[in-house]
Symmetry: C2
Subunit: 327 residues, 2 copies
């Protein structure tokens, strides 16, 4: 047996956590021959419920689950962690302004960033799922100066998968036939799901759908999909978010391979004239724990406008929490 890999999950007693932990423990994140130690972080009032989740993890008798630990202290939950999934965040409460929400989360993610800086494996890979994911990721990253900024990413894979499914349905093909589609910018309603470079069964997607469908139906329906799920299920996306987190991290660790791209919120290096330093979702290629932003795509005027719109929101979010970002 290989030595176990430490995987940390925050917000572990929440709905996404519940959908995530059993898939990780059964080998879907790290592979069928890789033992895992789960280190789970929750706020103190949720530790009892987390205890129940841990009982259920034991009750699965997973061959690959070497150990599972719970804590309300990030310094404990991130000790030696190699894979950190930051799922927990403060949801918007009644009467809470957007700025208050950003600040409440900035407090959480600055603490977690410092803890990762101090106690995580030097090779840790971090995925932020908790919203506002891009800005939470920026805060964690900037509070972990001893780690490489490239070790921090935010999740737009759920949006990416939703966009693939919408396009596949529209052209009546299987979702696996859709490639080279991406999400630009923020994991929010300003995101830009872009099919300009997408292929379906080897044909350019733009030849198969008309521009009005893209702007009036496709883009808004991907942007608003989260709300549509809540309306239908009476609960927010949990299993599909957990699935996207697994796919994001698995592709990052093992490589997505081939010509296709995956959407990841990563630290901008100025590619496509984006603002350097922002956590911005780009089309990426991944190999062996590294990601590279796709560079060959040309950007039309309409795309440029949408890319800048979502960037403006990210800049605004960053500026709202600037006092909590170390220089």
């Amino acid at each position: 047996m290989k030595p176990p890999v430490v995987v940390s999950v925050t917000g572990a007693a929440g709905q996404i956590g519940y959908a995530l932990l059993f898939r990780i423990a059964s080998g879907q994140l790290l592979g069928p021959d890789q033992p895992v130690i789960l280190k789970l972080l929750e706020i103190t009032p949720a530790l009892d419920a987390l205890g129940g989740v841990i009982m259920e993890l034991h009750d699965c008798a997973f061959d690959l689950l070497a150990d599972v630990q719970a804590s309300d202290d990030a310094q404990v939950a991130f000790a030696d962690t190699e894979v950190a999934l930051l799922v927990g965040s403060r949801p918007r409460g009644p009467g809470m302004e957007r700025k208050d929400l950003l600040e409440a989360n900035a407090a959480i993610f600055s603490v977690q960033g410092r803890a990762l800086d101090q106690v995580a494996s030097r090779d840790v890979r971090v995925l932020v799922v908790g919203n506002p994911a891009n800005t939470n990721c920026l805060i964690a990253q900037r509070n972990a100066p001893s780690l490489n900024p490239r070790q921090f990413t935010a999740m737009t894979r759920l949006d990416h998968n939703r966009a693939k499914a919408q396009l596949a349905e529209k052209v009546s093909t299987h979702v696996s036939r859709v490639t080279r589609l991406c999400i630009w910018g923020n994991h929010s309603a300003t995101q830009y799901p872009d099919i300009t470079n997408a292929s379906v069964d080897g044909r350019a997607a733009g030849e198969l759908v008309d521009a009005a469908w893209v702007s009036d139906t496709f883009i808004p329906s991907v942007q608003q999909r989260g709300a549509a799920i809540i309306k239908a299920r009476g609960a927010s996306s949990a299993a599909s978010a957990a699935n996207a987190a697994i796919e994001h991290m698995r592709d990052w660790l093992s490589g997505s391979g081939g010509e296709d791209v995956v959407s990841m919120g990563v630290c901008s290096d100025g590619s496509f004239d984006t603002e350097p330093g922002l956590i911005y979702s780009f089309p990426c290629h991944t190999t062996d724990c590294e990601w590279q932003i796709e560079q060959s795509w040309s950007i039309g005027e309409e795309s440029r406008k949408r890319m800048m719109l979502t960037q403006a929101e990210l800049i605004e979010e960053r500026d709202a929490v600037r006092h909590l970002l170390p220089e």
Copy 2:
């Protein structure tokens, strides 16, 4: 790509269903190269919520999910099904007597048995998860006379996994080191978790723990584990039940292999002097869509008593619904 396999799941919008569907669609039931068509059954009032679950399944962009369909009609949901997971059942309502509960479920499972009889693949494999699982399974089986009784099973794998975990914790080893333990009888508080033939790291389990711990702690804690989970989590076991359903069915389809046994509620052939025809949990070996009851074990007096106690409950359950069992 192989042709897809049809998998039906009842109670698909419930908590166990939610924990189950995404694992099936990601390949954990049938393997990483086997496409699947999901046919989902729900009661009419739950179809809207099920619609939300299906949206999330689409949003995962699973390569292996060839199609997903929802219905409130068992004749539709079981059409050509090869693997049927009967998860949904009527829970006990306030003031409901045990007999009323048995009858309410008998009505559900007789309809489903007849539908399987009429429209399922002739090779269908059926697992009943919904409680009272053994007697629900008996009813479905007896209402499907054109299928082989061996095609119907009830789930005691969650109890089996819980028992393994309890024993492993007691002797401070990893759960994967525990083998040849089994659950006898009913999936209820009368079940008999038996370590008489169990090994831990190659040593007889009986040499590692004392008899008082087995009778006073181990057996009751496995029997009452479901209630302990509800107390800790504030919700009943869902992810661990879904995991057990996947393991039960995967082992049945692909073979559990080796010397170890798995616990399955199956149609008694009189093995170990049990009452023929009851759906009774035995230690089983599985290979290639077949199961065989372990025959070599000798049964001591204490075990015999416990095995007959849980059998008495199964007989009582059967007799309470006898008017709904076709001859």
